[in-house]
């Protein structure tokens, strides 16, 4: 899909709303926020200086951004509603794009969600489960090996990311898994 930057937009919060949207906020996976004023512009302020971003489309190179005389190849690798994985210069960046209102709600919910975070362990790569080393209901330490996943001819030990209790195991020995398949659920301990 070809992206274009149209003439500066004025936007409203919603169909019924008369209030104008002042900004959009891109929030990264570490909750770092990047605010962009609406009307959205192609002028970015980086390290105290303003410069223009130009989106270029090239038959050989594909889409890239031209910023301060440097070229940055860019593409959207994944999107789902307001979530984006942007591949820029070979590196993935994960953002959710929020309005000021949805940002407030997100922040509120995440503080409510709280410190006791449970973990859903997903397959980091496609492969085959060689052996399950734990069982449901067992208390595990962080770093304790849970199962062995064979991928690209290597046997990889998959470890518990947090201390807690194994709530559910979704795989068994000999089974093939795809990337991001749910393997083990852990309930966070004290």
């Amino acid at each position: 899909m070809l992206l274009e930057l149209k003439e500066k937009h004025t936007m409203r919060l919603g169909r019924s709303s008369k209030k104008e949207l002042k900004k959009l906020i891109a929030v990264d996976s570490q909750r770092k926020k990047f605010e962009f004023p609406i009307p959205f512009t192609d002028v970015l302020k980086v390290s105290g200086k303003e410069s223009e971003v130009v989106i270029k489309e090239d038959d050989k190179l594909g889409t890239y951004l031209l910023f301060r005389n440097k070229k940055y190849p860019v593409e959207i690798l994944y999107k789902n509603q307001n979530r984006y994985e942007v591949l820029l210069n070979g590196v993935s960046y994960f953002f959710t794009v929020e309005t000021p209102t949805s940002y407030k709600r997100m922040k509120f919910l995440s503080t409510k969600g709280g410190s006791k975070k449970n973990e859903n362990l997903e397959a980091p790569m496609p492969g085959k489960i060689v052996e399950v080393l734990t069982e449901e209901g067992r208390e595990v330490r962080a770093g304790e090996p849970l199962l062995i996943l064979e991928a690209m001819k290597m046997q990889n030990e998959i470890q518990a990311p947090i201390a807690g209790k194994v709530r559910k195991i979704h795989v068994k020995g000999g089974q093939n898994v795809l990337k991001d398949d749910l393997m083990v659920e852990i309930t966070a301990g004290k």
């Binding site: 992206l3 274009e4 149209k6 937009h9 936007m11 409203r12 919603g14 169909r15 949207l21 959009l24 891109a26 990047f34 962009f36 959205f40 970015l44 980086v46 971003v53 050989k60 190179l61 594909g62 951004l65 910023f67 940055y72 190849p73 860019v74 593409e75 959207i76 690798l77 307001n82 984006y84 942007v86 591949l87 820029l88 210069n89 070979g90 590196v91 993935s92 960046y93 953002f95 794009v97 309005t99 209102t101 949805s102 509120f108 919910l109 409510k112 969600g113 980091p124 790569m125 496609p126 090996p145 062995i148 064979e150 991928a151 690209m152 001819k153 290597m154 046997q155 030990e157 990337k179």
Partner: protein
């Protein structure tokens, strides 16, 4: 007798690489078209193609000795080049070629067997007083015996597959408690990968450098080395970046290690090109690790600094020629670094990234070489390794090679896939890499992040995501942008919901 035709029993970039030399030497090449990748790029480099694309078989043809012998007979080739991987280090295959009167481009089956079995190789090294890390020269039966040996030589130890290579079937053990499980993992992996569960134990040398010597040996008893390659930048014992020469070696140490490498090669009456791998510890003690009896993935860095074509050397040796140069005539000129551009997600533990290359734009120049078996539109499939290309950069000295590498990596654009390029960018900025003190623990010890990313880049990415969001919302509601669509709820309801969390 001169070789007039060669069957290339391999695929990908190495098949292309072998075909290139054959073309220069006026040798006819045969490639094999498989059902796995009937439109593979390497086939376009072959003079003739043996078509197996209609045949579906359990076992890949490049691993199928009987099938390859049959193809060789049908195509009436003079020789077979196995490349690397697959049957390149299979003594039985080499013997079958000889029996059929076809030249196997590589060493004798005897040399392959002796060096291929790591415990036999250790015995030979011991007999010839080659320095070795402490350990066993026989395979270990069970975890109990492993524990006895480990207690004797002291932790940390490393368990290795006797038939291993390429970093597979290896486990490091720091504490006695880990031994039983690691022993099981290593034997499992060895059995799977090499059809041989036997393993042996060695003292684990901490923070070593991986230094290997390129050997050339003819059938007239001449053996020389072409200097070293340093391959310390590895993850999970798999090489990612190799350079020649090594910043760690003095001319004296180079001579000592090179002479040792030659002695090992001579001990098995080695013929052809081969590689002797050493570990170099922090006090400059070196230990023989293994000999690879094939052409290596990283052979181009040696070619760049010696001006030799190693595939040509292999072919000339196979047809009985004497080496065209003596040890004194070997000159190492400048510095070369190779980057393995793999389809891997360095932000997710280097896991394979499967996908299709939508666009690829490569750097070019007199000091840049790219070996690749992949073109735009090709896919990285789970059937084969994840290599997209090898980028090799030459400079007058190391500093220049690094500087030129940065430029080249910035011009290496791939769309549709994640690759190891951002990893190399951060390596090139790293201080211990730049001063040459890095070891095989580089990734664990020196890097916090596996990729390079500037503030500027992150802001640009955020800007692009936001723009994408705006464009999509505009498409959804052409008359008016509705950011809160579906989210407009009565404040009372909202309040109640939030409280329930």
């Amino acid at each position: 007798m001169g070789i007039k035709s060669i069957l290339i029993a391999n695929r990908g970039e190495i098949a292309v690489r072998i075909a290139r030399t054959c073309k220069n030497m006026g040798i006819e090449t045969w490639g094999i078209k498989t059902s796995n990748e009937p439109r593979a790029h390497y086939l376009s480099h072959m003079d003739k193609v043996f078509d197996l694309s209609d045949e579906y078989s359990e076992i890949l043809v490049f691993l199928d000795v009987e099938k390859l012998m049959d193809i060789a007979a049908q195509t009436k080739v003079d020789a077979i080049h196995p490349g690397y991987g697959f049957l390149a280090e299979n003594a039985y295959f080499a013997q079958r070629c000889i029996n059929a009167g076809i030249k196997f481009i590589g060493p004798s089956p005897d040399a392959i067997h002796k060096m291929g079995n790591k415990t036999v190789a250790r015995q030979i090294a011991t007999q010839h007083e080659i320095p070795l890390a402490m350990g066993t020269t026989h395979s270990i039966r069970d975890a109990e015996e492993a524990k006895k040996v480990a207690d004797k030589i002291g932790y940390p130890v490393i368990i290795k597959a006797a038939s291993g290579g390429g970093g597979r079937g290896m486990r490091i053990i720091h504490k006695a408690e880990e031994l039983a499980q690691m022993f099981r993992l290593a034997t499992n992996e060895a059995e799977k990968a090499f059809n041989d569960p036997s393993v042996f134990i060695e003292k684990y040398i901490q923070n070593p450098k991986h230094i290997e010597f390129q050997i050339l040996a003819d059938s007239h008893g001449n053996t020389i080395h072409l200097g070293e390659r340093e391959c310390s930048i590895q993850r999970k014992h798999q090489k990612l970046l190799e350079e020649a020469p090594s910043p760690a070696l003095t001319p004296e140490l180079r001579k000592e290690m090179g002479d040792t490498a030659i002695r090992i090669a001579q001990a098995v009456k080695y013929e052809s090109a081969g590689t002797v791998e050493f570990l170099l510890d922090q006090s400059n003690n070196f230990f023989f690790m293994e000999m690879n009896t094939r052409i290596q993935v990283e052979h181009p860095v040696t070619e760049m600094i010696t001006g030799l074509d190693l595939i040509e050397q292999q072919i000339r040796i196979a047809q009985g020629e004497k080496l065209s140069l003596t040890q004194d005539q070997v000159q190492l000129k400048g510095w070369a670094i190779e980057y393995r551009i793999n389809a891997e997600d360095v932000q997710a533990g280097f896991s394979p990234y499967l996908g299709t290359i939508e666009k690829m734009s490569l750097p070019s120049g007199t000091n840049i070489r790219i070996d690749s078996g992949i073109v735009e539109g090709d896919s990285i499939s789970p059937n084969f390794d994840s290599m997209v290309a090898k980028l090799i950069v030459w400079g007058e000295d190391r500093q220049t090679a690094i500087k030129e590498s940065k430029k080249a990596l910035n011009k290496f654009w791939i769309k549709g896939l994640k690759t190891t390029i951002p990893f190399f960018r951060t390596v090139l900025e790293n201080e211990s890499f730049n001063c040459g003190t890095f070891t095989t623990s580089f990734i664990e010890k020196e890097l916090d992040l596996m990729h390079e990313s500037t503030d500027e880049e992150e802001i640009l990415a955020a800007w692009f995501a936001t723009l994408q969001y705006i464009n999509e919302r505009e498409k959804e509601a052409t008359d008016q942008v509705d950011f809160e669509q579906g989210k407009n709820i009565n404040p009372w309801v909202l309040n109640k919901r939030l409280k329930s969390f």
